[in-house]
């Protein structure tokens, strides 16, 4: 059994608008720069200012897959943080607080009170706004971690704007560190930098999706802001001139999806993203992408629904929705990244699949993917490939795509269902992309005869057979199924907590085999059935009420999964609750 790694779990809490997330991310950056691994979780209400915000950071000497339940140190930027979170602390856990907010006597006796005059130090260093930095210094002080990494981050952050602000912050952090070390010289967790550790990037899911799209050669991104997808728009817009991408904040999601189809008609790699609510507005044009055989990529990032739902929280309740979205039947692919490595990898692959299949590809994520940062091995750009399928961008339309009268047949019926896609601008490429059913040329009025409808419908649906050969296979983790006591099946971001749970179980001598359904549509029925048949007990873990993945298993595999664990309170699974469920089942 492997030894437990050294870990620090710290929660920072305060009022919204205090800059808690920014402070937390700077702390994470400092640890990652020092060779440690991190995973963070930001929880915030849908408010600009006011309400309780908190940021949870897990730091480890080993790779981490998710957040966990216990907390070692709690940074209280207000009294409410203590009341809401003290019960999460382990015995001997530290409460870093400002004596102006409450007294040491308010801290439960099983915990370690670490009073640090946050406000007073901040004022002395340049202003109350530096309170967060004082608190970060205090935390680094009690865990014995050098301040230099935080100093570097501060200098980087303020290098352009105001170097003197960086200096003030460094002074503030040092004073916080000194005060905390004096108050708590013997804290239970001590962390040190790891020399020579492999470089990690610190990205959230949306940045990973954005980088995947950029690497794939995206030329057009259109979107309407909606949590949790908005930061993809910011990311793409920030890089539009550097990389040559037209980024459009549209009047609504209807426009975004239609523009993306227009860009794809011109041959440009194009993407849009939204939450489920925004995708609802896109659905008609999403179907048009299917009918017109347009190569587009759509990110649907789930937050709890229905309707406006819980804007800033997470769920996995859009699986069935994206698989079935739009009237009629057409081929599509739905990929569900589980973490920030998957998000990059599946996004550039999504563009290839869209081009190879000439049909929409959905990347199904959620707030847990989008909002939270994870230390991730730097993406290997040499792995990225571009396959544009049967695309013709210049010269003349190839003879194989011409009809007997010499006209280009954009929707020519082929064995694999994919037709030559000669772009506008290619000589002889007059064509009619069409949302109506159509004939091989694209004429809507000629699409009405039954035999034409059947030929075009079957041609399109044949692309699902090709899709099955091209899509990423399921991923397996944990113990080999043959030796496992239980098999866990899941999709999307449940991957993190499930992998973490399997590691915890392994330390206790329990072997669990894990299967991540990476491509949720077309559904990998054979692989899932084989997996379920190879383990003595089965448990499905998914973040929704109705068991959407479980329903797919029943439908596609004609198999029942014995046990299931659901969560639909807007919060992601914790590994501990999965461990508890596994023990209950065994």
């Amino acid at each position: 059994m492997p030894d437990s790694p050294t870990e620090l779990r710290v929660r920072i809490g305060g009022e919204a608008g205090f800059g808690i997330k920014a402070a937390g991310q700077m702390l994470a950056r400092s640890f990652v720069d020092a060779g440690l691994e991190t995973f963070d979780l930001t929880e915030y209400p849908s408010l600009i200012r006011g309400g309780h915000n908190n940021y949870l950071l897990r730091v480890s000497t080993e790779p981490v897959y998710s957040h966990v339940e216990p907390v070692d140190a709690l940074i209280c930027l207000n009294r409410e943080t203590l009341d809401l979170h003290h019960h999460e602390l382990v015995d001997g856990g530290a409460v870093i607080f400002d004596p102006e907010d409450f007294g040491a006597a308010d801290v439960p006796a099983r915990l370690r009170a670490v009073p640090v005059p946050l406000t007073e130090i901040a004022r002395g260093a340049g202003g109350k706004i530096m309170r967060n930095t004082v608190a970060l210094g205090a935390l680094l002080g009690i865990v014995g971690f050098p301040l230099s990494y935080l100093g570097d981050s501060l200098h980087k952050q303020f290098a352009k704007k105001a170097p003197e602000i960086a200096e003030g912050n460094v002074t503030a952090a040092q004073a916080g560190c000194d005060a905390a070390m004096a108050a708590c010289p013997d804290f239970i967790v001590q962390l040190a930098p790891i020399k020579g550790a492999p470089r990690r990037i610190l990205v959230d899911g949306n940045e990973a999706l954005g980088m995947g799209a950029l690497a794939a050669g995206i030329g057009f991104y259109a979107a309407y802001p909606m949590t949790p997808a908005s930061s993809i728009l910011h990311f793409m817009a920030a890089h539009e001139r550097e990389y040559g991408v037209v980024v459009k904040h549209t009047e609504d999601e209807i426009a975004a999806m239609n523009m993306v189809v227009g860009a794809a008609f011109g041959g440009t790699r194009a993407m849009t993203a939204s939450a489920g609510g925004g995708f609802a507005l896109m659905v008609e044009a999403f179907g048009m992408a299917g009918a017109s055989e347009s190569a587009v990529v759509v990110c649907v990032l789930t937050r709890p629904g229905p309707a406006t739902g819980l804007a800033t929280w997470t769920e996995q309740s859009d699986l069935r929705y994206v698989i079935h979205a739009a009237q009629g039947e057409f081929p599509r692919v739905v990929l569900a990244p589980g973490d920030r490595e998957d998000a990059f990898d599946l996004t550039w692959r999504a563009f290839n699949l869209a081009d190879q299949l000439q049909t929409p590809v959905v990347i199904l994520g959620d707030s847990y993917l989008s909002d939270n940062r994870q230390s991730t091995p730097a993406y290997d750009l040499s792995e990225v490939t571009i396959d544009r399928g049967k695309l013709v961008t210049e010269g003349e339309v190839p003879a194989e795509a011409l009809g007997t009268d010499g006209r280009y047949l954009r929707y020519k019926v082929t064995e694999d269902g994919v037709s030559v896609r000669a772009l506008p601008g290619v000589k002889g490429a007059n064509q009619l992309g069409n949302s109506y059913e159509h004939d091989e040329y694209g004429f809507g009025s000629e699409g009405e005869p039954a035999e034409t409808r059947i030929a075009q419908n079957e041609k399109r649906m044949r692309k699902m057979e090709l899709a099955e050969k091209l899509v990423p296979p399921p991923a397996y983790f944990g113990a080999p199924p043959e030796s496992a006591e239980i098999g866990l099946l899941f999709f999307g971001t449940t991957k993190g907590p499930v992998r973490e749970a399997a590691r915890m179980l392994e330390r206790e001598g329990v072997k669990a085999a894990l299967m991540q359904v990476v491509t949720v549509f077309p559904f990998p029925a054979e692989e899932v059935a084989a997996f379920l048949g190879s383990v003595p007990k089965t448990l499905i873990v998914e973040g929704n009420f109705t068991g959407q993945l479980e329903g797919l298993v029943r439908q596609e595999c004609l198999l029942a999964v014995e046990h299931s664990l659901h969560r639909y309170d807007g919060r992601p699974f914790t590994p501990e609750e999965i461990v508890r469920k596994v023990k209950e089942v065994l």
Partner: protein
């Protein structure tokens, strides 16, 4: 460069005999021929409606989109393919009703493309319901008691929203319509052409003869300055709104209401749009500079 004849597809138009769409079809084909636009440099987009059936009748690089959504599809083309001239055809229900939001925002973006509205003041394809431009009190199957609301004033909305080219035309005057099309296509910026196109089947009020009795040409107005936005707006308000008005009571101006020749187009604001954007996907993009910002 295609002739008007070569711009016709192998399919013959199926519009009702006498439909105003025939005049628009002929005027646009002739305008494109006279402007000598190469086939490879032209893209057309249609919405859904009787006008949209025209998608089958043009021999061009085209896309027949959804009801009300032609403009965003065309925008996606225009903002990624600077080598293409984009012409969009829409109907009144299509472009001013269900697609009204895109109309307003396309106008204010001033994207360099041409938007043509087939305005027959009725829903033809769905058999005769009131449209956003139907005259007030008009009786239709969906408004048996008469349309209650005021019609949309497309010219006024476009002018007020900052459009850089706004014209109205009449499908019964093909030479005049053709000249307006040519000016609209040549205009650098978003050009709006609202065309009264009588529906001979469903609209028994606003007929060809009804229009002939009322239209007059703006260019015949003494001292009219089409670069004066306020005057253009005032003129747009002179449009008839009375169903039963006598010809001498309601005169309908046709021609170019407003034109701003050297406007700042949306494309002017996109220095990165220096080539067809599909060219960015010829090989994987090197994003190592960005990865470095994240710690690589």
């Amino acid at each position: 460069m295609p002739t008007a004849k070569e711009l016709e597809s192998i399919l013959k138009p199926t519009w009702c005999p006498g439909c105003g769409n025939f005049g628009m079809f002929r005027a646009l084909k002739e305008a494109i021929e006279e402007l000598a636009i190469p086939a490879e440099e032209l893209a057309m987009v249609w919405g859904i409606g009787c006008h949209g059936n025209g998608a089958d009748f043009y021999n061009v690089q085209g896309f027949h989109g959804l009801h009300g959504r032609a403009l965003p599809v065309a925008t996606g083309i225009a903002l990624t393919r600077p080598d293409l001239k984009v012409i969009v055809e829409m109907g009144d229900g299509d472009g001013y009703g269900i697609g009204g939001n895109h109309f307003i925002h396309s106008v204010r973006r001033n994207i360099d493309m041409t938007a043509i509205y087939h305005n027959n003041q009725i829903y033809g394809l769905t058999t005769g319901q009131a449209s956003p431009t139907s005259d007030q009190f008009m009786r239709t199957p969906s408004t048996p008691g008469g349309v209650v609301e005021e019609p949309v004033n497309p010219v006024g909305v476009a002018v007020a929203q900052g459009a850089t080219f706004v014209a109205r035309a009449f499908a019964g005057d093909i030479p005049h319509l053709k000249e307006i099309y040519k000016r609209a296509i040549l205009h650098e910026g978003f050009s709006v052409v609202d065309v009264y196109q009588p529906c001979v089947t469903w609209n028994k009020m606003n007929t060809f003869s009804w229009f002939r009795d009322r239209v007059y040409k703006i260019e015949e107005l003494p001292d009219y300055d089409p670069t004066d936005r306020t005057k253009a707006f005032d003129l747009s308000m002179s449009t008839f709104h009375e169903l039963t008005c006598a010809p001498d009571e309601c005169k309908i101006p046709i021609g170019v209401f407003f034109e701003e020749p050297d406007s700042f187009t949306y494309q002017d604001g996109l220095p990165q749009l220096d080539r067809p954007m599909y060219k960015h996907a010829e090989k994987p993009r090197d994003i190592s500079a960005t990865l470095e910002l994240y710690g690589a």
